[in-house]
């Protein structure tokens, strides 16, 4: 045990603990919680001068191929069991509420088109979105309200959350499956309907103009 040196260092206000120690600390903090922890939170909890971001790089490598892995969730980090070992965990499996087809589609549209208004979701699905569907997704904390659109009526937009990323094992919204292909195929563009296509939502010609911009903005973080 190397206690003395360690504690000596801890006492010094200006000297950060050695990287090996910082790695242990990040390890302990990530193991202690089920929620992803941001680098900022890590740094706040670690001794002065520690660099959690660097410690995370080492720790992530250390857990590669192990039974549990260090994963990135948005701008936070968590430890999760390796997906191939799920079969061992029947006991831990939590029954997730079965999502309706409408809810699943709505979720996918929000994820791929975010930030997206209700009217846009309705246009894509060709059917009005029931309040219950959105409420369910909000309640599960898989979606949340984004910024309002700067268009008449200032409609609210929806975006997906960190919980969503965590649930589906995504580092960021950019890693959504098939996103690139969809974009390349132009299917994420909000193409204004020529003339008089029956619209289910309220007229969004204005909203649509802005969407393009909104979207690129989105997947940037």
């Amino acid at each position: 045990m190397t206690d003395t040196t360690e504690s000596e260092i801890e006492e010094s206000l200006f000297e950060a603990p050695p990287m090996g120690e910082q790695e242990r600390m990040v390890e302990a903090i990530l193991f202690a919680t089920a929620e992803p922890v941001t680098v900022k939170e890590l740094n706040d909890r670690m001794p002065h001068g520690a660099d959690a971001a660097e410690a995370l790089v080492h720790l992530r490598k250390r857990y590669e191929g192990r039974g549990v892995n260090v994963v990135k969730v948005g701008d936070a980090w968590a430890i999760r069991t390796a997906p191939d070992l799920g079969f061992l965990m029947q006991k831990e499996t939590v029954e997730t509420r079965k999502l309706s087809r409408a809810a699943i589609e709505t979720l996918a549209i929000i994820a791929y088109h975010q930030p997206v208004t209700r009217a846009e979701i309705e246009e894509i699905r060709g059917v009005s979105v029931s309040r219950g569907t959105v409420d369910q997704l909000l309640e599960m904390e898989w979606i949340r309200f984004g910024r309002r659109r700067m268009t008449p009526g200032r409609p609210v937009t929806f975006v997906v959350t960190q919980d969503f990323l965590d649930h589906f094992g995504l580092e960021s919204a950019r890693d959504l499956p098939g996103l690139k292909e969809l974009r390349a195929a132009g299917l994420l563009e909000n193409r204004p309907p020529p003339g008089t296509v029956p619209q289910l939502g309220e007229g969004d010609v204005d909203a649509e103009e802005e969407t393009e911009e909104g979207q690129s903005e989105l997947f940037e973080d």
Binding site: T93, I109, I124, G169, G178, P194, V197, L200
Partner: protein, 264 residues
């Protein structure tokens, strides 16, 4: 994104399914676009090559049949039917150069785009749901440890508190024949006298309210008087160079400590 799942049924099966769909009810579809998408499956694998004209005809036939069966149709379906009828006429008739607005081809292309987009969203939704999921395929920590907020209470007392406490006990039933004329007034002389005796023990910064005479805090009038005189006495002592005063902020407690005579 050309991997739209090919329908593997042969046409007859697809036809049968479409017929069944008719008999069931329109509620089985998530709106007219969904119905159109279902109908388009019987046509082509690639949604971009779907014949919108044919699709419109199928849709209109469906609506007619539903009407014949007295199925209650939502307004959405009828609006779509009207629009498709219009589109059909546009596509069939030669374009009228005097007419404004988008061409039948433009409208058809947009409908094809909408269908393709809806199909694409369904495909990615399926891909999303097929991913490993938290709590099903991979798991979070079972034993979590809350960050404890340890509230540590530190009790403090000053030497003055201690002595005042002791004095309080020792004097509480002492007979005091002393009578003040105006017992609601604590004079500055009294305060000065009291503080002179006490400041010898005030080596550290102490709130001047500590020097308030005991028992004067019950009656507000007496408390005001004692506060004023104690404050005035503190200033007097500071003027005499016996104590130092400080206050961190407006209305913050005024603190006092003995001034060490070492300077002179």
């Amino acid at each position: 994104m050309n991997d739209v799942t090919p329908e593997t049924f042969d046409v007859s099966v697809a036809d049968r399914l479409a017929a069944e769909a008719l008999i069931v009810d329109v509620d089985g579809f998530e709106g007219p676009l969904d119905l159109l998408l279902s109908l388009s499956r019987t046509q082509k694998v690639d949604l971009r090559k779907v014949s919108v004209l044919q699709l419109a005809q199928q849709y209109l036939a469906f609506i007619e049949q539903a009407k014949a069966l007295r199925i209650e149709l939502a307004a959405d379906y009828l609006v779509m039917a009207a629009w498709l009828a219009f589109l059909k006429s546009r596509l069939l008739l030669p374009p009228d150069p005097t007419e404004e607005g988008p061409s039948g081809e433009d409208l058809a292309a947009h409908l094809a785009f909408q269908l393709e987009r809806l199909q694409a969203m369904r495909d990615v939704a399926a891909k999303l749901m097929a991913r490993d999921q938290l709590g099903r395929d991979f798991f979070a920590r079972g034993v979590t440890q809350q960050v404890e907020r340890v509230r540590k209470v530190e009790y403090t007392a000053t030497l003055l508190d201690l002595m005042q406490g002791y004095a309080r006990i020792r004097t509480k039933d002492e007979f005091r024949p002393f009578v003040m004329d105006r017992d609601a007034v604590f004079t500055m002389e009294q305060a000065l006298e009291r503080m002179r005796g006490l400041i010898g023990f005030a080596g550290t910064w102490t709130d001047i309210s500590t020097y308030m005479p005991d028992g004067w805090n019950i009656d507000p009038g007496r408390w005001r008087s004692a506060t004023a005189s104690t404050f005035a006495a503190s200033l007097e002592l500071a003027k005499e160079g016996k104590v130092e005063l400080r206050q961190s902020d407006t209305f913050a407690p005024i603190e006092l400590r003995r001034k060490e005579p070492r300077g002179d």
